[in-house]
């Protein structure tokens, strides 16, 4: 019994934790952007993809992972700035369904453009750390633990910025009531642009960080976007803490469920959890009541 706990359950809990952090990374930007500007960003996965490809490109010139990461993040942020400035800006205040259409089209363009620029092959980025450690009878790659660590740091940082800084207060003010915030002298368009940049930069960051594990290819965004959406919705759209908890929950459920049931059923289970969550709490598990 104790053996079962230590050698079967515990490693799965760890997997779930690491995997949950990874999902949270992608979901965070999505939920921040929605919470602030009501944009349902279907192209979020494509920013994640661009981040990974940028990392790959830098790595092929300067083979140093820790240079590639900031360059890629900045590049994606600039792409975010450009798209926000040229496209999203024109849509504020319109029905979210238009954002959906816009990001749907944008995603198609990004995917195809990536295929034109980099080709359709799967690329690899070597992990900067390849060591493994022995851990309760399980060999565990250090790089994954590193991601877990970085993830926790980034999440704490975001939480700190939003909660305790004046920028964070402004962002929360705009999210609460855009008109009022504007009247109080907060420059709403600047906040929008910068938050959008940060949101997609987070996706780009996740893209490079994950590329040693998930590899780099043009359609990689599609593979993550649904999962990220589920997490964001279960957590309550726009609710950062909710998205975090939901990510960990989904990671753990999938990891633990796969001990006993087939992984495909576990994956479907995630959707069923989503459905049940939303029936019981229509605004998400951790969401406020109707907005």
């Amino acid at each position: 019994m104790v053996d079962y706990l230590i050698y079967v359950i515990l490693p799965q809990v760890l997997h779930g934790l690491v995997w949950g952090t990874v999902i949270a990374f992608i979901a965070l930007g999505l939920t921040i952007i929605f919470g602030l500007m009501d944009i349902v960003n279907f192209a979020h996965g494509e920013y994640y993809m661009v981040g990974a490809f940028m990392g790959y490109t830098v790595m092929s010139v300067i083979p140093n992972f820790w240079i590639a990461v900031p360059v890629a993040v900045v590049a994606v942020a600039l792409l975010g700035l450009f798209t926000e400035f040229v496209l999203f800006r024109r849509l504020y205040g319109r029905d979210p369904i238009f954002h959906l259409l816009l990001t749907f089209g944008l995603g198609m363009m990004f995917r195809e453009a990536a295929q034109l620029i980099w080709g359709a092959d799967t690329r690899r980025i070597e992990a900067p750390v390849t060591a493994t450690i022995e851990f309760i009878g399980m060999v565990y790659p250090v790089y994954r633990l590193l991601i877990l660590g970085i993830g926790i740091c980034v999440i704490l940082l975001i939480w700190y910025v939003l909660r305790y800084t004046s920028v964070g207060a402004k962002i929360r003010a705009v999210a609460q009531d855009r008109t009022m915030a504007w009247a109080l002298g907060i420059r709403v368009p600047v906040i929008y642009t910068s938050v959008f940049m940060c949101g997609v930069a987070l996706a780009g960051f996740a893209g490079v960080l994950m590329s040693p594990i998930n590899f780099v290819y043009p359609t990689m965004g599609i593979d993550v976007i649904l999962r990220a959406f589920i997490v964001v919705v279960i957590g309550g759209l726009g609710n950062i803490m909710g998205a975090l908890l939901a990510s960990l929950m989904i990671g753990e459920i999938e990891a633990l469920a796969s001990i006993w049931i087939s992984p495909t059923i576990a994956e479907t289970l995630v959707f069923i959890i989503l459905i049940i969550t939303m029936i019981v709490r229509p605004a998400g598990l951790f969401g406020k009541a109707e907005r």
Binding site: V40, F42, L87, R90, L91, R94, P96, I97, F98, L100, L101, L102, F104, G105, L106, G107, M108, M109, F110, R111, E112, A113, Q115, L116, L226, F229, I230, V233, L237, T264, E267, T268, F271, I272, L274, I275, M278, I279, P282, A283, G284, E290
Partner: protein
């Protein structure tokens, strides 16, 4: 709407319908068989797009899972034709029934959620359906290989039989199918029930105080839309001789929203045009340009930015009081 009463208008409307139908009817004489096939596909998809307009354009409910009903209809038709009884009519009945039942279930369960939450719920339901069928390996449904080799039966019309193996015949049948569906949907939206739906779209909170049950009105609209999506899915399968999981995928759900928005929602005819435009356009662009997704994506983006009311909006008269 009140204007529909006047006599001259009715004559004009009838005349207009007659002309459009006549043009559609003689169109195949000028089209190659391939173009006819493309036209049939586009026409069938136009009914699918129109069915979404009932909920999205009239009741103002966004749904990301509409493909589920299309796909289920397709599979129902496939199962009917391949394994049960080779009759299009029975296939349509089964398809409409299955899709409507699914829509009823999804609707009743999720109608309490509003806006984007409802949309995500429908997406989740559609994904569950998709996964169940995708992994139904070793069942007659064929899992990810799809249900292939669906026979094309004769279409019995009383004493007559129409050979649907002829593309031109199927084209006419598809036009009739689309036209009838349009008429029925048009009647629905211009009925008292349709007014309730517009009321819900405009101001959901006021509607109950006028004596209407919002929840059931929405569910009814959802079920009707689901049934029509099922019908069009069934026709799609009958025409293409296969049912595939692609018909259930969230990408198709996204695409049909795009079709509606491009055509102009809340008009019924707009989404139909949108579906035809996108289907034909996709076919042309992917044949003549290597990077076709960039072009199609750019068109979506341009539509959102420059034509928020869709294609019809460009040609519509300016709103009376704007």
């Amino acid at each position: 709407m009140g204007k529909l009463n006047s006599g001259s208008n009715i004559t004009r409307v009838i005349l207009f319908h007659a002309v459009v139908l006549a043009v559609l009817a003689i169109l195949p004489l000028f089209l190659s068989t391939y173009h006819q096939k493309l036209a049939v596909e586009a026409i069938i998809l136009s009914v699918f797009a129109m069915s979404l307009d009932l909920v999205m354009g009239y009741a103002g409910i966004a749904t990301f899972g509409h493909a589920a009903f299309f796909g289920i209809g397709g599979y129902a038709m496939g199962v009917m034709l391949k394994f049960l009884f080779p009759s299009i009519w029975l296939g349509l009945i089964l398809a409409g029934f299955c899709s409507a039942v699914l829509a009823l279930f999804v609707g009743v369960v999720s109608i309490r959620a509003k806006g984007i939450y409802f949309a995500i719920l429908t997406l989740a339901f559609a994904e569950v359906v998709y996964r169940i069928i995708f992994h139904s390996y070793n069942t007659p449904l064929g899992g990810s290989d799809g249900l292939v080799g669906v026979p094309t039966p004769m279409l019995g019309l009383g004493p007559f039989e129409i050979n649907l193996k002829s593309t031109t015949n199927f084209y006419w049948v598809a036009v009739a199918f689309a036209y009838l569906s349009y008429l029925v949907c048009k009647l629905i939206v211009s009925s008292p029930f349709g007014s309730i739906l517009s009321g819900i779209r405009e101001n959901e909170n006021r509607v109950p105080f006028l004596g209407f049950n919002v929840k059931w009105s929405k569910v009814t609209a959802f079920v009707i839309a689901g049934a029509f999506a099922g019908f069009s899915g069934a026709m799609f399968t009958a025409f293409k001789s296969y049912a595939d999981t692609e018909q259930l995928s969230f990408l198709l759900s996204g695409k049909v929203i795009v079709m509606d928005l491009i055509g102009g929602i809340g008009t019924l005819i707009g989404p139909m045009i949108g579906a035809v435009v996108i289907t034909v356009f996709e076919s042309i662009i992917s044949t003549h340009f290597a990077a076709h997704n960039i072009i199609i994506g750019a068109i979506f983006v341009a539509v959102v930015i420059f034509m928020p009311k869709g294609f019809l909006g460009l040609f519509a008269k300016k709103d009376r009081n704007e």
